[in-house]
Symmetry: C2
Subunit: 345 residues, 2 copies
Amino acid sequence: MTANTPRPTLQSIARQLGLHVSTVSRVLNGPEGEGARAASGETGERIRRLAAELGYRPNPHATSLRTQRSNLIGVMVPRLSDVVLATIYEGIEEAAAELRLSTFVTNTWDRPETQRARTQMILDRRVDGLVFGDAHADGRLLDEVAARGTKFVLVNRRAGDYPAVTCDDYLGGRLVADHLLGLGHENVAVIAGPPYASTGLDRAAGFADRYREAGIALPAERIVPSGFDTAGGRAAAQRLLSAPARPTALFAVNDFTAIGAAGAARDHGLRMGEDIAIAGFNDIPLAAELPVPLTSVRSDMHEMGRRAARLLAGIIAGEGPVTSERLAPTLVVRSSTCRPPDSPT
Amino acid sequence: MTANTPRPTLQSIARQLGLHVSTVSRVLNGPEGEGARAASGETGERIRRLAAELGYRPNPHATSLRTQRSNLIGVMVPRLSDVVLATIYEGIEEAAAELRLSTFVTNTWDRPETQRARTQMILDRRVDGLVFGDAHADGRLLDEVAARGTKFVLVNRRAGDYPAVTCDDYLGGRLVADHLLGLGHENVAVIAGPPYASTGLDRAAGFADRYREAGIALPAERIVPSGFDTAGGRAAAQRLLSAPARPTALFAVNDFTAIGAAGAARDHGLRMGEDIAIAGFNDIPLAAELPVPLTSVRSDMHEMGRRAARLLAGIIAGEGPVTSERLAPTLVVRSSTCRPPDSPT
DNA sequence: CTGAAAGCGCTTACAG
DNA sequence: CTGAAAGCGCTTACAG
């Protein structure tokens, strides 16, 4: 295909073959049934041969205009340079491509105005559906989007009763609590992430519930909100480690927060994995590569993305009842979580 | 806008106002000049008012079909879960949105077959242009794409004479060499990345040239290829540190590779920043957060992405001569680069 | 199995 | 300043 040759169209192919455009359409892009039948005919063979020779590719804008289906989906994420979201998006994009869906992805920075503006921008592109990876617990924007009849699913974070594919964050929090309890930690704290994200909320809740079941109630000041980045983790840990009865173990609801917390611990002269235990969440690839490898909860983010794409595709296709999915996490124990310093060996 | 109301179209607006669709089109979506003139008329006011009230949004598929312009661009990256590429993409997406362009982004894993297949998939979507963030030095695929008359730019990696926005990687390599020479390192090695990426090649070349100018020629076995991830850095460093006259400093052409190298150093009982100097490239956010903060070359990846988007937009618009851009890097010195262990203080 | 027709929602050169 | 017409490239119900 050289630069000057105009792209072939159904029309141009029909003309060259002395056929009608509708015939060519049915053979090349028609539904399976018809295409298959047409396949038998010798005409079908001629059409297919010429189309292949010319490198015919249907014009998706024409198809979308005609069918009112764009085969496009939009994906909203807080920020793609966060490896957690990037990995989820990779899963979405991969599964979407398998389903012949193309994706637009955009950052919303977790800011409501940006979320609203970018959602509108994506809807203006006439996507068939949306994946929200930035849902806020209040669900206000989602309510509006749902009211318009727009199809969507949530991924990573849940909100209300909207269909969502998430990690079982509550269970993940419990797993960490189990582990720290087993090591003998009774004086612990949680760096809980921002208050609008179900991930942090559920992880913290699972952790606190498990401790409560063990007879240890975490006081409110031991569950501190934070950003999801290293700076947030550092600041939160700084506060916790300056308190009177310093905790012997920290559960950060995200690995970056945990890395920031490790920095704060260092500033306090504490060695992670020896003087203080720190656990994170997500098991990002770097967790295992740190000088003191980080104990973390592994969730299959790529698979989460794949499932979200498929769930959305099902909804778009109008398939049966929609049920949210919750992936089981596993705890990966590494050397960052030691026993309490004064514990008997 | 409720679920059951059909979306307004130019037609529906024209009908409600007793006007012709072409009039409405000119007022709502027409070129600046006409729109402005139409603005004065009282009719224009009525049209605009109703459109706003109904929440009219032009159907981009219809517009694209008619104008043969999709306002869509495609972005090819090795993998989005690499924070370097994710950050570049954020810049592309941000600038593209400002230019009213929407972007498709896809992973190609640096595999030629995938690159080819995904490029075709993106072109099938009738994008107006492409940004390649995964160019291979041989430029084979790019030659094919160029031969079709497709418009594109490269970002991060350059190839042939195709328009590209890159970091001045050669200069970056020189900066690191300057720094290590200043510290007194004469026995050094480079972990150079894969042989198909201009980034690693140029960084290694700048480094080696600067050392040569200082009278120190790096033997070939001191410039070892690697992957761009921690595993690759670890393996390469493992080899280098097992050699007879062990280098006192390592330049890894990427921060992940440097982190992997630090792991290998630890395995050899070497403390980074005390027994061995290690420098990276890109200054990813984590570099400053490591227990031993990493010396690295900073390149403004977000800005690189923004410029690539604008360069492509210029090419699509058919504006003047196209010139590649090369952003100046800066060296960020941190504690990972110490003097050679046996150097006089 | 193939053809003819209508129409998805827009833009734009041509009249008036 | 506004209208009428043509057409971008497809799909699909209706005939034959």
